[in-house]
Amino acid sequence: MGLKRNVPLSAALGYKGQGPFLAFILHRVGGAGMAIFITMHVLSTFAEMRGLAIGDALNKVYTSPPFQIFILFCVLFHAINGLRITLLDIFHAKLMPHYRKIIAVEWVVFILVFGFAAVSVVATAIGRM
């Protein structure tokens, strides 16, 4: 007797972990975003080779500025956060005690790099109009 142990996504996301948990979630969002992008890319190339209209439609989606900004977010966050995880894993004895400060540094780096990239995408899109 007893309730099942399943943890629904809503309960998992509702857990009040701190900054590192947010990075953990966004890392997975980044991974999923890249998987979606690559799948769309492969499908659209395949469809275009066969002359299917869906290929062009998919192409339009992932070359649109909002999608590009989303995919930039995914790639950059995944890469920068991955770097942070790797450094903490390798130099854990020295760095782990400072993990909160290191995550703050990661956010600063990410915001600068992502901000620059996003502004470039928007400027290019405006230039094209």
Binding site: L3, A11, A12, G17, F21, I85, A93
Partner: protein, 235 residues
């Protein structure tokens, strides 16, 4: 002050699923959440079920989710969480009744760590203690503080997904013995930790470190274990 306390309730004899019941009570800002629960159980609803024993952060029996984070009810004050309090059972365990969860999977994982000193060598010549320097003791000092409350393991996303995953508390126990200079069971434990449900599933979300009421640097301890597995060295 008046506090509004929303508590997860589940009676296996009556309910198909859990629900929340809200109570409004008077409490002091310096009351502990455990006092609030005792008050409700004593004055309003005697059927409310939760575990507690020492009431002083020693036994580890009253870990629960308080306003969305794993905490010991006897270590959190009302003023720490405010006038709106939500209390729920630990995530990732079967709920037996209200705030009581089935700890069996947790202790099964604990047992897999061989949680006792392994030493088959003959006693020292004087037949007395196996001596240890303060430095050798310091290596695993942190991990001796664990009270097996399960706050860490049940805050871990890898455990939420799979309760076969040994989880942070088991790793802390492994750390406590593996880095003890008197112990001889390190290689056997490291083999267990290298299994698919071992440290490889730790993705450094740090929820465990944040949840630990004993302030053990759990993720760092897991890092020590990962390094020992890669290098084969315990120093």
């Amino acid at each position: 002050m008046e506090v509004t306390v929303k508590i997860f309730r589940y009676n296996p004899e009556k309910d198909a699923r859990g629900n929340y019941v809200t109570y409004k009570i008077e409490a002091e800002p310096t009351d502990r959440i455990l006092d609030v629960l005792e008050h409700i159980k004593g004055k309003t609803d005697g059927a409310l079920s939760f575990r507690r024993s020492c009431a002083h952060g020693v036994c580890g029996s009253d870990a629960m989710r308080i306003n969305g984070r794993n905490r010991l009810a006897c270590k959190v004050l009302v003023r720490d969480v405010g006038a709106n309090i939500t209390i729920e059972p630990l995530l990732g365990m079967k709920v037996k009744k209200d705030l009581i969860v089935d700890m069996e999977p947790f202790f099964n994982n604990y047992k897999k760590m061989t949680p006792y000193l392994v030493n088959n060598s003959p006693l020292p010549a004087d037949g007395r203690e196996r001596l240890q320097s303060p430095e050798q003791r310091a290596r695993f000092d942190e991990s001796t503080k664990c009270i097996l409350c399960a706050a860490c393991t049940t805050s871990c996303p890898s455990f939420w997904a799979n309760d076969e995953y040994f989880g942070p508390a088991a790793f802390v126990t492994a750390h406590r013995f593996i880095f003890d200079s008197r112990d001889e069971g390190a290689s056997q434990r490291l083999m267990v930790l290298a299994e698919t449900d071992g440290t490889v599933r730790c993705h450094t979300a740090y929820n465990c470190t944040d949840a630990c009421p004993r302030e053990i640097h759990i993720t760092q301890a897991i890092g020590d274990l990962k390094m020992a597995m890669v290098t084969g060295k315990l120093e």
